[in-house]
Symmetry: C2
Subunit: 367 residues, 2 copies
Amino acid sequence: MAISGRKEKILKAVVERYIVSCEPISSSEIRDENLPELSSATIRNELAALEEMGYLAQPHTSAGRVPTAEAYRLYVDKLMPRKKLSSKELKLVKQYFSGKITEIDDILKKSAKLISEITDLTGVAVSHGIKDAVIENIKIVKLADKLAIVIIVTDQGVLKDGFVELEQGLSDDYFTKASAFISGCFRGYTLKEIDKPDKLIKNITKEYERLFNVIYKLIRDYASGDMNCDVVLEGSTKLLNQPEYSSVDKAKTMLELLETKNQLVPLIDSGSGVSLNIRIGKDENGADVPDCAVVSASYSVGGVNIGNVGVIGPMRMNYAKVVSVLDYIGKTIEELPSGKDGVIKNDNNKDVANSDDEVLENEQKQE
Amino acid sequence: MAISGRKEKILKAVVERYIVSCEPISSSEIRDENLPELSSATIRNELAALEEMGYLAQPHTSAGRVPTAEAYRLYVDKLMPRKKLSSKELKLVKQYFSGKITEIDDILKKSAKLISEITDLTGVAVSHGIKDAVIENIKIVKLADKLAIVIIVTDQGVLKDGFVELEQGLSDDYFTKASAFISGCFRGYTLKEIDKPDKLIKNITKEYERLFNVIYKLIRDYASGDMNCDVVLEGSTKLLNQPEYSSVDKAKTMLELLETKNQLVPLIDSGSGVSLNIRIGKDENGADVPDCAVVSASYSVGGVNIGNVGVIGPMRMNYAKVVSVLDYIGKTIEELPSGKDGVIKNDNNKDVANSDDEVLENEQKQE
DNA sequence: TTTTAGCAGTCAATCGGAAAGAGTGCTAAT
DNA sequence: ATTAGCACTCTTTCCGATTGACTGCTAAAA
């Protein structure tokens, strides 16, 4: 059943007023503030109809109306206006991304913090793994007598968290050659492909067999594990500002949900294809999530997808604002000058590579 | 003024009963449960005296007594019994540290989680920086055309988060030689020493000057920054189980304190000298911390200090239990078989080096 | 002098009912 | 189709009375 224009107007009014007040909206309030040309009785009739249709609910007989999940759904899909950001907000975004940022995780983290700041909700960011990255080079570097580090260079970033213990007395030369050999074995494959072994195991010189096995295992573990799907939360306690979590019990279930970050991944990470995703209320898959909403966007820099950023909060949130902020941040970071020369390093393991600025400084010094 | 034996007995009773009930303790309760040989009137007199001395307080005239911060202080210093852990707890500890753990950050994190689990408070861990580590070796490895990674090996761990951008066309050989040269410049110094420049800058071949400068800056930044002081929280929401945070307002201030992790460092990290530290109530330096208590211990593995672990919670906490658990965990990890052959890697930057187990597995395979 | 029984006094917490207030649904008139 | 008016429902608030838990004090007992 289609919904009349006036009903839409009224529903929109209810949602928007409820978003700011968090209190049931009465017919007379709508008349006074939104539709002075109608009587409250007429609006009451419409409200009753909207309730019948499942868009509104009444906490009790003599209370005003409260939007249902369906109402929010319809609101964001059809009724919501596109908002411009205030100049204050624009300024804040600008300020956040003014410094030199080259680390992907840092961009995501800052985005999460920023959106939390602006919307007063909890900001969430997940970085995509780089399972689709193509291996370009593998270096094995001897560090100490029995310890070496494995560095895997891919087209999307550098992995450098593999250590190898080995027998004594292997020469540097051995490692140079081993690196070359093993690079040759893996080059051109994506991390994901290596998880399915069938193909590349062939012609392994006895000499490098051990190293090869270790590195092979390393890559497989990385590709199969989900450790590389990193969740960052910013401003969890902001939720406590929201009246829906004014009871400690409700706050607790919500915060506990946030604490088990892994549960959040499927909520935020809707695949890199979807640029904007809004989940409201109970979701198909996310079973025992308490009544809340998640708005998330997929971000990319220079065309390369880097992860998802969003907010989580009560269903009653300022969707228009959230969406426009997410949108604007997305545009801002897409256009980030990725380093001075287009290099963005993704090491995908929470590291902070912190030498870029210094390099530049030094360059300047030398001029 | 010295405190009589009977007063001590009564104070101890008040503290211990209050710790479990979180409700003002009455004179008759103490008589019934702790001192049946006295009358409630006598106990009342003693309670009044203890209040006079500053150890007890009354929420209102006709309420029982509540311990003050001074009471807790005296309790932990003098009255508190040493508790044995229950077999259930012993088992839990054992279980937590049964797997192979070689990463220091992982040990700390697990400790924090474990203690949070057992005590139902928030577990905190901070890892000490390794500013006192002595540089043993520096490797610069070319990864791509214009990108190299700097790996600094110290006696306490490996730093591997420095990237360098450079001009094109430098040969591998150049890096080998540069590594050797720069290693020579820095070897033997601690990270901290390098922050004061005076000494080592001399005789720098023009050829390596740029690289030298970059690496110099890298080390200084690391040593001067406090980024390397990492705070891990486990079970923040556990606090919401405590009745003192049953009001959202109080919970909020507390959780906000936890969210700004840096503020926690001075509370937990009492220097590596002190093995056990208990802060109760408002502290000299920690100014605007809400009424709460922090119990922390300094942990080491194989004699090397790795960081501090503790709990944060309301002043009313089970100190005896907390202390004995902290103590026992400390002993347990001190005796951890640090890898199969005593190598513990500390990369101090939140990485997960995850190849140890595999290496061992591979070794077994090969036998 | 110390301990104790007994009692009066204080204060928070609880209960119940009355009153107020907000808002609706329905009906009948426009 | 809209609206004014009214009765009805339900929550919230307020207020006073009651209860119950303790204490502090006093005077007697040990």
